[in-house]
Amino acid sequence: MIKVDYRDPKKIMTLSRLGSFHQSKLSFLRSFIREFKNWKFDRNSFELNNEGYGSAVYSVNNGERTYSLVCFANELNADERSDRVIATKWDAAFVLHDGIPTQSDLNRLKENVPKQEVGRVSYKELTLSRANKSVRIFDHVIEKLSQGLQPDHRLVIDVGYLYRTTAVYGSGKFGLADRYRIKDRPEICGPFRLEMMLVYLVRQFTFDQVNHIAKCKNPQKAVELSHDIARNLGIGNSTGLGMAPFIVNHPTLLHNWIFSREEALKQIREIKKVNVDDFEYFKSCLERSEKNINSWKTNSEYQNEKIEKLKSDLNNLKKNFFSELDTKQDYLWNVIYSWIEENLSDEGVEYIVSMMMEPYDSIIEPLVANMSSDEDQYFDIPAEKTVSDLLSIIESHYSKFLDINFDDKESVANFWFISKNKEEPRVANRYEEGGSHLEQPLAIARDIAELYKRLKKSPQSNTVGEFLLLNQEVRHVVRRCFIVENFPYSEIQDNTIDKNLIPIDMLRLKLSFFGAQKFDPRSDKWLRINMYQGAPLIHELKSSDDTWMYNLA
């Protein structure tokens, strides 16, 4: 039996590689649907007026616990609608409540949820979100349905959603329950599972709302949105830089996500005899998924180049390599992996890695359970270790950072800060914008290099505690060194303040683990995505299979 090594973090954890990740069986949308399949769903109340404004409550129950989505749809003038973080009003606001809300809860939520960041929710609430209608299709869909017709199929699928969320908050923000209160619930053990639940239920609300408005508009003629069209609609999401520092600030969580992917790949490459059915299943998923690539539209030159590379990679694979493959060959997956690593771009390699997971429920499912992290466990610095120990860790895990010249202005061109207006992370050019003295501790490469310099000047036998007494400025990265020693995929192996930083690579990494598709960068700092496009509708969940994202019409 061959023993495959884990892929080298120094190669995998670069931003260009992480920014080429795609959804996979490990993604949170997909693991959520697998968990959610047999839950009981109810629409507890639906009190919208003829124009679709009002409130609604949906609940889901797994036999032991109930979660409820509370929706508030508000009237909004066109000039008030904005996806930007400075917005204070949205077409709809949502909260996921723990249990079934009482009337008093509903009154409280009605006062607070539409206000989002300036409102206040309680420990009984788990996630909070807001969304705007798609100007391109919302009215069109209602108009057609009210005339007894289905909307323009192509247009609707091209846009891909009726509503677009601009934020989904969880874990203690604005009064929401702290993670520690709920972390031991088995049904939500995967990361972001409650956020995934909220978005899935919001999707159902958007269908119910358009059907309701169309019916009110023309009770005699109106028809409901066809299931085929609805299934091809997801929920859009505009995501800005707020998400980028998350992966720097949660190193053990990042490791657990990437390590699960690496572990899956390793186990798959170590399969000696690949079952014919499994190989055919892989090929069929690959073929079906190409529809998603071909319908992936963006105005971003950066993304279009990546899409073209991906298309050409897949052609190359099919034309020049597929015919040589035979399941009689030992370690077929390893043969494939070696070839793609040699011949394809980062986009192509990571796409095929995701596809290779498709046939292997038995490998993937146990890994999903390990994708959260109890981060407090790894917070303490083992200060009894020596300066020499710390130097070895840096030389072995951060050698790349030691080669960067941080005296070069371009290497430190950017700085991360928290915007005063919205209390959200942002990035700016240090030489063009003020405020770099308030920089956030996200320049890990620069600070590790500084730590290394200081350690080199210290007595090697000193303890880390003794070193820190005089060097508290680098304490935040000392902590990271001891984390990366045990969690090798916890650190981005790139300089996150370099002039050439492309922040959307950081967003794409996170969103690929969410299970988002069709990344559409609107600048180098924010992008739009679609979640649940192609996902089974609620009444279809029980009989759905796990490859729903390849079912796009």
């Binding site: 309680s122 420990y123 874990s171 203690g172 923000k173 009064g175 929401l176 329950a177 702290d178 993670r179 520690y180 407090d376 917070f379 303490d380 610095i381 200060a383 009894e384 928290i418 501790p441 303890t463 880390v464 505690g465 820190l468 007494l469 508290q472 400025e473 680098v474 304490r475 935040h476 990265v477 000392v478 902590r479």
Partner: protein, 194 residues
């Protein structure tokens, strides 16, 4: 009600704004969160302390000794807490330590609670008339209600590492052991031994 996550974040950011480094501010965030989880006024003590040190240069221990005192002024509970945390092994070795003149001693409690966890021993601290027992970062017990307590300083604080000791004598153990053996079954010769 503010969540633990909000308390940690605001404590961290405010401490950074007051001049502590990011690494120390992270420690403060965690410690204030811990105090608040135990219903001890961490946030208010921190707020008052950060006001007190505005434009000043707070001092911590430069070395952990049996007796620790500054020539002038009071020790900073944060720098002192971090120094003790980073020298947990030394705290265990010294067993008994004293700190003369310390600002806002309540802010030192969570650091020592973490020391207790790291060394695997209970720690008793005493200042003024207050006695506090820290148990491996699992619980804090005190002879005084600390819920609304804001203490600006103390003249003397002592730290006592308590050796792990049974709370019962051998007679009690033997008696209970005897009872527990009543769950055992006699093994016959016919059983195979593996």
């Amino acid at each position: 009600m503010r969540t633990s996550s909000e308390i940690e974040t605001i404590s961290k950011r405010a401490s950074r704004a007051a001049g502590f480094t990011w690494g120390i501010s992270e420690e403060i965030g965690k410690c204030v969160r811990l105090l608040e989880l135990y219903k001890i006024s961490g946030l208010e003590n921190l707020n008052d302390y950060l006001k007190k040190i505005k434009n000043k240069d707070p001092k911590g221990l430069q070395k952990v000794e049996k007796e620790n005192r500054l020539e002038e002024g009071n020790f900073c509970p944060i720098f002192t807490g971090v120094a003790l945390l980073d020298a947990s092994h030394k705290v265990m070795e010294l067993k008994k330590l004293s700190i003369t003149s310390l600002d806002f001693p309540i802010l030192l409690i969570p650091f020592l609670n973490r020391v207790s966890y790291k060394i695997g021993k209970m720690i008793e601290i005493k200042f003024d008339d207050i006695e506090i027992l820290l148990n491996l970062n699992n619980y804090i017990s005190s002879n005084t209600d600390l819920r609304k307590k804001i203490l600006k300083s103390t003249k003397q604080l002592t730290i006592n590492v308590i050796e792990n000791q049974d709370t019962f004598d051998s007679k009690v153990w033997d008696s209970l052991y005897k009872l527990s053996t009543e769950t055992f079954v006699d093994e016959s010769e016919s059983y195979h031994h593996y």
